[in-house]
């Protein structure tokens, strides 16, 4: 008894935090999602699943999903490729490699608001660095954030820059966990460096790849600060995504119940996407045992 009490007392601080800041808010938001609540006009009114029905029938839902998918389709292949390449570079025993590793990690530490403001200017159609660089190759750059088709790619570019350091660090750890003897054996057999990458590095890095993909998909669904600062969902709703909508419904349109339902729908999407990935992993992830 005394021992249990001691354990409980030691757990108490983190339990209080968990209950107060996670469990209770989660429960409350589940309840709110079944209500209509305009926040300033009295307590929430229960009205069952109406919010969910409304959201799923709305045209907006299609747009949000489309935009999110557009982001995922551009972001996932790019971030995987770029961060593996960077990790391969950073895995070399150059002199002062630590400095490079630090430099690549700096964007991760930057606040998203500052980074997004910077990218807003980099992507400026007339005066931005991105279009200036494209101009050297004779390419007339689009007016990124003002163009419906190019706004999301602009957001993707900034996200790649920001997240690259983080994921290449994870890949770097994955690469360094590969047993050197495989490479030695391959070298003795006369394998080219591409062959070594294709048949040793890539298969053995799949557990890391899997982890990164799960995280990336979750992050993609939760896309928010860059959109809020760079485009505010525009132009013409071309960058409207889940969290941006949740924020607007809750704090600008005074529809807290609707926003809560939308966040549970977001949760459902992330949950299903992650389950699917977990099921699929048997087919392509190799654990080195």
């Amino acid at each position: 008894m005394g021992k249990k009490l001691t354990i409980f007392l030691f757990l108490l601080p983190s339990l209080v935090g968990l209950v107060l800041f996670s469990i209770i808010p989660i429960g409350t938001s589940l309840y709110l999602s079944l209500t209509e609540w305009d926040v300033i006009g009295g307590p929430p009114k229960f009205h069952g699943l109406k919010n969910y029905v409304q959201i799923l029938q709305s045209e907006e839902m299609g747009r949000i999903l489309g935009n999110t998918l557009y982001f995922i389709v551009l972001y996932i292949p790019l971030i995987l490729t770029v961060s593996i390449l960077v990790a391969l570079l950073l895995n070399n025993p150059y002199k002062g490699i630590g400095i490079y590793r630090t430099i690549y990690y700096v964007p991760v530490l930057t606040s998203w608001v500052a980074a997004a403001l910077l990218w807003k200017w980099l992507l400026n159609a007339r005066y931005g660095a991105v279009n200036a660089i494209l101009g050297w190759f004779g390419i007339q750059g689009p007016s990124w954030l003002q163009d419906k088709a190019w706004a999301m790619p602009g957001v993707v570019l900034s996200s790649i820059w920001k997240d690259m350091g983080y994921f290449s660090l994870i890949f770097l750890a994955g690469l360094q966990g590969i047993d050197k003897t495989y490479y030695e054996a391959a070298e003795i057999d006369g394998a080219s460096s591409f062959a070594k990458f294709r048949y040793i590095t890539l298969p053995l890095v799949t557990p890391t790849l899997f982890f990164v993909m799960v995280i990336c998909i979750i992050n993609s669904f939760q896309l928010f600060p860059q959109v809020m600062v760079m485009t505010e969902g525009g132009p013409g709703g071309a960058t409207q995504v889940f969290v941006e909508r949740i924020y607007n419904y809750a704090f600008r349109y005074y529809k807290m119940g609707y926003a809560a339902s939308l966040s549970w729908i977001l949760f459902a999407f992330i949950f299903v996407a992650t389950i699917i990935q977990l099921r699929m992993q048997k087919r392509w992830v190799h654990y080195d045992s």
């Binding site: 400026n124 159609a125 007339r126 600008r252």
Partner: protein, 414 residues
């Protein structure tokens, strides 16, 4: 000895009692506002000093929050039951707060204190009525006029705009000014909800039917209006496209001397005085078949649950109607006080540039207020998205407004 002691205890008690009652008489009220954030906090502070000197029994605790965070902050404090005794609301949010019963009707307090309504600007006062009840007092108001660059008009050899101008005159001038150079534009008038509900009125259109029960967004008049606005960008290019603008603000474009006319608010004056090194003036907005000009107001309201309503009312009354507050406001160039004191209006008119300050008051004859509906933010976002689609040439004005009409009907409860 014993008597003396008794006397001393008694007198001490008396003093204590007296000081308690004196304490009890001093009421401290909390006041939350956004419009002084930035440069005008010092001016609000000055108003408070004068008020507290005049009302020794009331202390005001001012809290200022920037516009961007203001409504989230206010909303959370209302939910938490810690809303300030008095606070500021802009016209667009006022409706929601009044309809939800979060703020107090002021009639009783106005009657009790013998409030003289003739001191308030009638339009501004009317803006804070809802369901026939006065819920707020106007803090300040502002309207939208056409700022124009006299130098560019001279160069293009076009007469300056006047109050009789129509859309056609304005377009004509804009085309001539645009011809002055690749980087010089004729006019800028944002194509978004806040402009649109007014510009349609200049063409005899409306976004709602008369009793505000139905949307009438895609009527022929409105389609024609949007066509006119879009043509200025796409067809004549007298107004820069989003790409040509490239994130440059419209005020900066004007201040850089690259814009002939700018449709914007009177709140731009301090900025233009500071940043324009050319001659500029203002004119009433042109109309097509009718005249219509913007009217914006910020109001002062009282929390329904406060137990210091009377003190709070004294404070908002002072801010809204006193000569002292109005004078500070005018001297600071901090929007327009919503009062009718003649000397204050004279003082305002005498502060130049712009030279034609009277235009501000002339514009008031044609004023339109933003539509008062609960789902204001949502309406503005939905319509804005479709207007943007038309502006950027993705759809025709007809298609944009048809789509907007359909979406608004399904999303907004009138």
């Amino acid at each position: 000895m014993k008597n003396l002691k008794r006397f001393m205890v008694l007198s001490l008690l008396l003093v204590l009692c007296l000081s308690f009652t004196a304490f009890a008489q001093v009421v401290t009220i909390d006041f939350l506002n956004f419009s002084s954030s930035g440069d005008n906090e010092v001016h609000l502070e000055k108003m408070r000093e004068i008020f507290e000197a005049q009302n020794p029994n009331i202390k005001v605790n001012i809290q200022t929050i920037g516009y961007g965070d203001y409504f989230v902050r206010l909303m959370t404090s209302v939910v938490a039951g810690t809303a300030p005794d008095a606070f500021e609301l802009n016209f667009e949010n006022f409706a929601a707060y009044a309809m939800k019963g979060t703020i107090m009707p002021l009639e009783e307090l106005m009657e009790k204190t013998g409030f003289d309504t003739s001191v308030s600007d009638p339009n501004a006062l009317a803006a804070f009525r809802s369901d026939g009840k006065q819920y707020g007092l106007p803090f300040s108001f502002s309207n939208v006029i056409v700022l124009y660059n006299k130098d560019l008009f001279d160069q293009a050899n076009v007469p300056y705009p006047n109050s009789d101008w129509t859309w056609a005159d304005q377009l004509d001038a804009a085309i001539k000014i645009r011809a002055l150079g690749e980087d010089i534009f004729g006019i800028f008038q944002p194509i978004q909800f806040h402009e649109f509900y007014k510009v349609v009125r200049q063409n005899g259109g409306r976004l709602f039917n008369a009793d505000m029960t139905k949307f009438t967004v895609n009527t022929p008049e409105n389609v024609e209006t949007l066509q006119y606005m879009v043509d200025r960008v796409q067809k004549y290019n007298v107004m820069p496209t989003e790409e040509q603008l490239s994130g440059m603000g419209d005020w900066d474009l004007f201040a850089a001397g690259r814009l002939g006319m700018l449709v914007t608010g009177s709140w731009a004056f301090p900025y233009m005085m500071e940043n324009c090194d050319f001659d500029w003036d203002i004119a009433v907005e042109p109309g097509n078949t009718a005249k219509a000009t913007h009217f914006f107001a910020n109001g002062l309201v009282i929390n329904k649950d406060t137990d210091k309503a009377e003190a709070a009312f004294e404070w908002i009354k002072f801010l809204s109607t006193s000569k002292e507050a109005a004078e500070i406001r005018v001297q600071a160039g901090w929007e327009l006080p919503a009062v009718t004191h003649q000397e204050i209006l004279d003082l305002y008119a005498a502060t130049t540039p712009p030279e034609s300050k009277s235009v501000i008051f002339e514009s008031l004859q044609y004023l339109v207020t933003p539509p008062v509906i609960e789902q204001f933010g949502e309406l503005s976002d939905i319509l804005g998205r479709h207007l943007g689609d038309a502006r950027d040439g993705f759809v025709t004005p007809q298609e944009a407004l048809d789509a907007a009409q359909a979406e608004l009907e399904s999303r907004i409860t009138l």
